[in-house]
């Protein structure tokens, strides 16, 4: 490193990451602490029309996961990584709104998890699910806060988006798939 590099360069180079990642980390930790510290109520308001809370969660998570696949494909198209596909002009809108819908679908699920059940570490599946759940919202907040910034390197959004997609896939595997296999594919 040359002596001419001014100190302010370091700050402008590292600060853009710092804020979104810090906020995301705080959100993840706060959710985990809340899930661990408060007494689970065993009860929470959710969407009507399902046979039970678990069925509601399994299907909402499945909906969010399907939308997340739309997210992955639309993002790949926007970055020109789908061979033979030129992203249509509405790809960005599709990506934004499918992401919003996926996030909003996930909120009642996460709310029931944290409010009614809490974070638990006694069974591997539940432990992985608890950790992934808090991680997902941390990454999601980091991604949301990174989106409006123009001073971030090009790989920031793909990395955060990829992490969010992977976390959601893991959440689906440890909850919905488990539900469909163990309890059955019931509404």
């Amino acid at each position: 490193m040359t002596a001419g590099q001014p100190e302010t360069d370091h700050r402008t180079a590292s600060a853009p990451y710092l804020l979104p990642l810090l906020a995301g980390g705080l959100v993840a930790v706060a959710l985990g602490v809340y899930g661990r510290a408060h007494p689970p109520t065993g009860y929470a308001v959710g969407l009507a029309g399902f046979s039970g809370a678990l069925a509601m969660k399994a299907w909402l998570t499945t909906g969010a996961f399907v939308l997340a696949v739309v997210q992955l494909l639309s993002a790949l198209a926007m970055y020109g990584r789908l061979p033979g596909v030129t992203a249509p002009s509405w790809t960005g809108t599709l990506h934004r709104w499918s992401g919003r819908a996926a996030f909003l679908l996930s909120v009642p699920v996460a709310f029931h998890c944290l409010y009614a059940l809490g974070a638990r570490f006694d069974v591997p599946r539940v432990m992985v699910h608890s950790l992934l759940g808090t991680f997902f919202y941390g990454v999601f907040v980091a991604k949301m806060l990174s989106l409006p910034r123009r001073d971030l390197p090009g790989w920031t959004l793909p990395v955060l988006g990829g992490l969010a997609f992977s976390a959601l896939a893991g959440l689906w595997l440890t909850s919905s798939l488990w539900f469909f296999v163990v309890i059955g594919v019931t509404l």
Partner: protein, 233 residues
């Protein structure tokens, strides 16, 4: 708009979660009694130390469950006092068990079919029998897990530990000269199912508010926690 979009998204999520929180706090079952209706899933609600009368003190291998594995190897892992209530998988009926000092009473009901079962609890397991029905399950501080056979049908179930007012209730009495037995299972989320047996004929049960009497054909009967009936036939 585009720059603020992500913030709107986050705000919408926060508002939705807050709305669910307010709605849940307002509609929580039996909100008048603070600790009631809550099942702390993460904690053992029952005493898992060995009871003096609970089965032989031979060093049977403990039930393979992490929550009781810390107990001494010679201890009987059977909870001395425990209540469980849960759903029969693939059936929708509810199952509840009450354990007291090595004895157990259990009840299955889906609103049309019911069965009372009794038996012994030892070594972290129960084998209960009723009229044409059987329950085998493993017990620990947090849940009972096993299978249930009623007639020819068989279901698995996992019943979390239940704390009052959740649990199993039974009422017995005489209504217009006929022997009445009523059973109710109340889950922690407020769901319940019940059935009456009036002189051998099933009849729909009135909704139970644990602790309050119910009226059957003009006669008041008081459902009691089922463990009170362990000494009766």
């Amino acid at each position: 708009m585009k720059r603020l979009g992500p913030f709107y998204t986050l705000a919408a999520g926060i508002v939705l979660a807050a709305g669910l929180g307010v709605a849940s706090a307002q509609t929580a079952p039996r909100a008048g009694t603070p600790a009631a209706g809550r099942v702390p899933y993460a904690r053992a609600t029952t005493n898992v130390t060995a009871g003096p009368s609970a089965g032989p003190a031979t060093a049977e291998p403990a039930t393979p469950d992490p929550t009781v594995s810390a107990a001494p190897a010679t201890a009987d892992p059977t909870p001395r006092r425990a209540n469980y209530a849960g759903v029969a998988k693939g059936n929708g009926g509810l199952v509840a068990l009450a354990i007291r000092d090595g004895r157990a009473i259990a009840y299955f009901c889906d609103g049309r079919v019911e069965s009372w079962l009794r038996g012994a609890a030892a070594d972290g397991t129960v084998i209960l029998n009723g009229k044409g029905s059987q329950i085998t399950a493993t017990l620990d501080g947090t849940r009972a897990r096993g299978s249930l056979r009623v007639g020819k049908a068989k279901w698995r179930f996992t019943a979390p530990a239940a704390r009052k007012p959740a649990g199993l209730y039974r009422a017995a009495g005489i209504v217009r000269g006929a022997r009445l037995v009523g059973g109710w299972i109340v889950l922690a989320d407020g769901r319940q199912v019940g059935l009456l047996d009036v002189g051998g004929t099933p009849a729909p049960a009135p909704t139970l508010t644990p602790g309050s009497p119910v009226t059957v054909d003009g006669t008041q009967v008081s459902p009691q926690p089922a463990e009170n009936f362990l000494d009766q036939p």
